[in-house]
Symmetry: C2
Subunit: 212 residues, 2 copies
Amino acid sequence: MASSSSTAEFAAPRLALSQLRRLRRIVDAAIALAETGGFDGVRLRDVADASGVALGTLYKYFRSKEDMLLFAINEDSAQLLRVMAERPPRGEGASERLVELFARATRGLTRRPNFARAVLRAIAASDASSAVQQAAFHLRMTRMVVAALRGEVPDVVAPLSEPIGSERERRIALVLQHVWFSSLIGWASGLHSIGAVTQRMQESIELLLEPR
Amino acid sequence: MASSSSTAEFAAPRLALSQLRRLRRIVDAAIALAETGGFDGVRLRDVADASGVALGTLYKYFRSKEDMLLFAINEDSAQLLRVMAERPPRGEGASERLVELFARATRGLTRRPNFARAVLRAIAASDASSAVQQAAFHLRMTRMVVAALRGEVPDVVAPLSEPIGSERERRIALVLQHVWFSSLIGWASGLHSIGAVTQRMQESIELLLEPR
DNA sequence: TCGGTTTCTGCAACCTGTTCTAATCCGCGA
DNA sequence: TCGCGGATTAGAACAGGTTGCAGAAACCGA
């Protein structure tokens, strides 16, 4: 049970070790399938086969296919936060650091384009039941953006619930995340290239930060 | 035939009158169902029944369910453009006009919340085959944003292919559309209220335009 | 170790988007 | 008017997400 993916991140994991292992096998199988075939490539019957569980068991761990992929991308966002804490963007000004932050995030995500398309579709189609996942992702990104704005190192250990940044910093983070997400959706829809995503981020950052 | 929805907007409609009427009945049925039950409420078997055509016929007019809803929202965007040309936002400064533009657009869309959720999901999940639709929507919004920035009246009749605005104006339009779209997706996912959408637009517009 | 509870399995079933096919219908040019 | 070709229809069929269920397995406290 354990309301899907919110589990490992928010609630105390009431899962036994064997269940944690099962969860991992499921998620790994889903990721592998997504890397090959994107959203449609993740056929739950295949996920079940590849992870050695019954089809119905998937629904004990996740509410839906989307929820499963949301869990995967949420893990990735935690990983990204760690990386950014270890090797923060080291540009001179806030703009350069932000550009680098999003360039690295974009590269990291789209390095596995089919997986990226899969999770983007999952995010876009998810409903309120997965809102917690989304919120977690958002809070991590905000933390990274604020850190990049200030030229600091993002806090990895602080609980996600802890508020961060000034009003203005949070607004900038919000705008940039919206532009990023929406651009990525556009890329996933075939509207433009990955390069266009990075370029839009750069233009947006300049528009927001550079004196006019 | 007629590659789905691009038809009525881009290519010369090679459809006979009876076919145009059929198309209209299909779209109207889909809209009605979406208004009631959102994306999932649009069951193609029901659309076919309600519009009096066979299930297979739907696929002669639209590539997919998403494509169908994209067509509907595209009609709405044309309508919005006309309304904005008739009664443009009449604030003093560019900021006020933009805030009003997006407030009105948001209200118009979310007045039928289930329909809005349906088309948002369709947009987010669409693939390259519907890129033309998306582009059309985007071009219309850009036209409205640029007009609001300048305090002019958007051009309704000019072909959508005609480029518009300065580099900076287009960037602002792009950022605002990304924020708008992404906020709406967040609303559709249950992440926040409609009010939050309008508020984010206001904050973003201030961030972009007001001197600091 | 035992009994009860929870989880997992294997499988069938359901639902809905999508595709396919054969038969029919319709408009239109000859 | 006739006949042809494209459009439409009814219906079946397929695919994959989701659900339900009965029995087997695993776990856990006593």
